[in-house]
Amino acid sequence: MNRFALFPLALLSAVTPSAGETTVIRNATVLTVTKGTFQGSILIRDGKIVEAGEKVLVPDGARVIDAGGQFVMPGIIDCHSHIAADSINEGAVAVSSMVGIEDVINPDDPDIYRALAGGVTTANILHGSANPIGGKCQVMKMRWGKDAQGLIFEGAPPGIKFALGENVKRSGSPGNGFGASPGLRYPASRMGVEDVIRQALTEARAYQKEWRDYQAKLDRHEQAIPPRRDLRLEPLVEVLEGKRYVHAHCYRADEILMLLHVADDFGFKIRTLQHVLEGYKVAGEIAAHGTGASTFSDWWAYKAEAFDAIPYNAAIMVRKGVLVSLNSDSAELMRHLNTEAAKAMKYGGLNETEALSLVTINPAKQLGIENRVGSIEPGKDADLTIFDKHPLSNYAKVEKVFIDGDLYFDREKDLEERPGKDARKKALIDKEKVQEKKNRKKPEPTEDKKSEEPGGAQ
């Protein structure tokens, strides 16, 4: 049985567009995250939140969704994910800033729908951590059913992945390469990691100067030959100019400080430290640099540099003034970031709003999209998740998810559609069986060939 033949069954039927439509979600417990919690309604028009409050007048002709007993929160934002990408790592070189996730978006990845069903509406899709300077990131909305272009979070500031520590060094160790690299690849130590980053930024600075000199000549109406374009250095010039955010994978306190010093020397800010499991050891320095931290709730001990990871990391950093988010880095964890947030209450005593901020407004700020998403406020995108119970409860499940005011996930509808999908799946399998029988009658393929079809026996 061919898995891919069945794949379209997983697709949700097309989203009903609501452009120009007015929707009111009412009777809900509304967790705005930034403006308190109340029993009331949310008015949505043209994909935006128009009003949110205890008393909201329902306009004529508005679609009314009764969310009695339910909880509405802003769509969850994951600052670190690798779903919906056909490839993740360009690990053959130590600096791969010329590649980007935008070019490999796979809108058919069922993990998009699964993330939606976990209440996620926006995610930062990053390049992997195979090299000190990785590829460009892409912020996406989980608009399941749209094409690659349709997933892109229009207007989100561009980003790039940096990475430090063990994953980066690994390609310098024999027998542990990231597939693509045939031999040893510099760097193999944390010293080398710093060197690679400084070298690349130094080159970028020289490249930036070439273009500035060229522009200056043009401005003086002198004859000038444009420099040769360098697609590897261009994104790094944007980094130097603060136009492209650096999201840096890191673990240990020493390498965190190293990177902050490098950024200081080159005159830019690291936008976020990713994973940053020892961030709690240098939280004061991170806060002073004005850098955000995006961490796991409680992963630890899966590798040497994660052995001092503690579940109190998020809470300590929050208390020391760092802008903190919790991310998934995993299509599975991405499905329950709401309860991951609850762990920051258990470990370190954050309050409800602080906990919910870790997966909503804080990652929105880290990605520079807080004017659009991350809280329930008039003027923001109507990206909303409705839970049947309080989202910080392990018993809660997602009932509905709106993006830009459109209903992208509806549990009721998902359940209703299952028998139909099962029937279609069965029909396809039966059809394939018939086809297989027909093929078998043909004399051509030998016994050997047939047995090579994976799963044929099942």
Partner: protein, 427 residues
């Protein structure tokens, strides 16, 4: 499941004394015995490491230490039915893992001998209310002997509840090479037929090994004192005698079916491990009274076109079908974080598993599956006093575990994580 299974107690007798002569009365809490209805304002009397009495009113025995727990809750300690605790300290560091060894048939290997009682994972895990775990060896076909142990003790002698708790078998299946590892890269169109041949060969070897073990047992019974011992085959005797169950890993329907047939033919007492497709075999599992150690609930759907919530709804389906199961934290796609065991159970409750059943699947059912239903898993007279005191429902993340008792002894809830927290918060 045979609950009356003969008990293999190697260590327990010695550890009885270690619990001390202390008598402690825990009172004023809501007691959740799990085996019966909750007791509001209830008490638990602990003597010599065991539960001496449970009820609404218990007279204070002379010299008993009284612990007032007004407003709090007492639950039995939770049991994680699949972990690597003590065998692996840091997963990615070869030197810090004793999880698996070389070879296909290694029934003589015992997890109990390699568990590090000083592992940082032990205090980290019990701080969230998990008081005993199964630690299993891995790799090969017969991987070795699992241990059921308390998460407290200076040595394995203090910790072991059952050693062995089970013999672990990874049932052969047609496993395609992993494309992420260069050494396994298929590169040839024959990858499937090679995998199939390997699987068929392994099945023959498994049958052969079981046959050798059976003949060895027979020869040994017939032979005199000069009989030459074979450690591998010797280790299989308790399994063949039905005294030690076989924990058989089988994920897909086809493999589960084959594993059940194997257990029938070999007359071994089977516990199904992982069983991602156990729901397709629910009727057979129930008919054969085969319990299941579930894979983590918090995982991605096993098939691309499964409903998004399939892993969350499977425990409810199995429960309705009458299959007995226990939750576990270890498994594919999971983060291997045993302290999150209660959340694996809770995730199934939102999708159709009754809360009481979920609680039993991390306490009483787990104990019953491991053959210690009369020693662990509920707050009943005569059982080990493995108790947790909480300020609420242990399935909710926000609930704090206030106290933990293992074999009646109050255990330190401090751990590496908390120490680093205090140290760096004060920086």
């Amino acid at each position: 499941m045979k609950t009356g299974m003969a008990v293999l107690t190697i260590f327990v007798a010695a550890s009885l004394r270690a619990a001390g002569p202390d008598t402690v009365l825990l009172r004023g809490a809501t007691v959740h015995p799990v085996s019966g209805p909750d007791i509001a304002d209830g008490s638990v009397l602990v003597r010599d490491g065991k539960i001496a009495e449970v009820g609404a009113r218990i007279a204070v025995p002379k010299g008993a230490r009284i612990v007032e727990l007004k407003g709090l809750h007492i639950y039995p300690g939770m049991i994680d039915s699949d972990t690597a605790i003590g065998l692996t300290e840091i997963e990615a560091v070869r030197e810090m893992s004793d999880l698996s060894d070389i070879g296909l048939f290694k029934p003589q290997l015992r997890a109990a001998t390699a568990v590090n009682p000083a592992s940082e994972h032990i205090p980290v895990t019990r701080a969230n209310g998990i008081t005993s775990v199964i630690t299993s060896p891995g790799g090969g076909i017969i991987a070795g002997q699992c241990v059921l142990m308390h998460l407290n003790g200076w040595t394995m002698e203090d910790m072991a509840v059952r050693a062995p708790a089970a013999m672990r078998l990874e049932y052969p299946n047609i496993r395609m090479p992993n494309r992420f590892f260069a050494s396994e890269a298929p590169g040839r169109a024959s990858a499937y037929s090679d995998a199939k041949k390997r699987y068929e060969q392994q099945l023959r070897e498994l049958d052969g090994f079981m046959e050798s073990a059976r003949r060895y047992r027979q020869a040994r019974a017939a032979a005199g004192s000069d009989f030459e011992t074979d450690l591998k085959l010797e280790a299989m005797i308790p399994v063949l005698d039905g005294k030690v169950p076989m924990l058989i890993r089988a994920e897909k329907e086809k493999t589960i079916k084959e594993a059940i047939a194997f257990a029938d033919k070999q007359k071994v007492h089977m516990i199904l491990e992982r069983g991602t497709e156990a729901w397709k075999m629910a009727a057979e599992l129930k008919a054969h009274s085969i319990p299941v150690v579930l894979p983590p609930t918090l995982r991605l759907p096993d098939e691309e076109d499964d409903p998004y919530d399939k892993p969350f709804s499977i425990p409810g389906e199995l429960s309705r079908a009458g299959v007995k199961f226990a939750f576990a934290s270890f498994g594919p796609g999971a983060e291997d974080n045993p302290r999150n065991l209660p959340y694996e159970a809770a995730a199934a409750v939102g999708f159709g598993l009754p809360q009481e059943e979920a609680l039993k699947a991390v306490t009483l059912y787990a104990a019953q599956i491991w053959g210690v239903g009369d020693e662990l898993g509920s707050i009943d007279k005569g059982k080990w006093a493995d108790l947790i005191v909480t300020d609420g429902d242990p399935f909710e993340t926000r609930t704090q575990i206030k106290q933990v008792f293992v074999k009646g002894a109050s255990v330190d809830l401090d751990n590496k994580h908390h120490r680093l927290y205090e140290k760096y918060l004060a920086r």
